[in-house]
Subunit: 117 residues, 2 copies
DNA sequence: CCCGATCGTTACGGACCCGTATCATTATCC
DNA sequence: GGATAATGATACGGGTCCGTAACGATCGGG
């Protein structure tokens, strides 16, 4: 049972959620940061810099910088892997889980308001 | 008939579309720019810098800079209002309409792939 | 006319991000 | 043990964006 949505609905939903995000201002995440954050919170751990870079098709410094920024915001944490100390394991945080949950509720709520057309 | 979508579906859709946008790379628009672009293409003209700034809850220079960037990408055009030459009317372009249409198709397609959960 | 109000733009200092290249640390394999 | 590979972080030069403040252009009322 696929999720049926019309192009005009998709656009209005996309616009409304982005408007909310901009107006709230708290989540100043770029498209890349959003993709990284949701990957961390939706895909099965463990997550590494290299793995995320491969999934997104970007270079490793992009991931490192994004983790710096999101770490400052308290959305993720880094921890060295004790079994292979070259690796860094990205971990979820309570604040990050809350932010993701709020985004989900925002999309669901705005979708509910999308009328017929 | 509202659009029914579950939180987990919303998150997976949000992640997948952002992944596509990042991987394609062509549309390097921030959340603000996306909101501006969709407002121009979904809401009734005419659009002015002041009006967009009010709708998004941001300052005017933000709109001016976003229009500069999107203008360079060919997504919008500016034209002085002949009746009140202080105003600038933001106009749509073929390239912009195509980009918006492609975003809509992307969301629709990814939504269709969102299975049950 | 001229003065105030309104419009969009620009200037400035600071912050962030990018891609490439390089680095320090750690593991692996002979 | 020493050479090699792999991982994540950092340096650098260039670009974009931000918020505040100021600016030139234009309208409108007295």
């Amino acid at each position: 049972m696929p999720l049926e949505i019309r192009p005009s609905q998709a656009l209005r939903l996309w616009r409304q959620v982005h408007l909310d995000l901009v107006r709230d201002g708290d989540s100043d995440l770029s498209a890349r940061q959003t993709a990284i954050l949701l990957t961390i919170y939706l895909e099965l751990p463990p997550h590494t810099v290299r793995g995320l870079a491969a999934q997104l098709g970007v270079t490793k410094p992009v991931i490192t910088r994004a983790l710096d920024t999101m770490g400052k915001l308290g959305l993720v944490t880094r921890k060295r892997d004790d079994f292979d100390r070259r690796n860094v394991v990205i971990q979820r945080t309570v604040a990050g889980a809350l932010a993701v949950e709020r985004l989900a509720d925002l999309v669901v709520e705005r979708a509910r308001e999308m009328g017929g057309s």
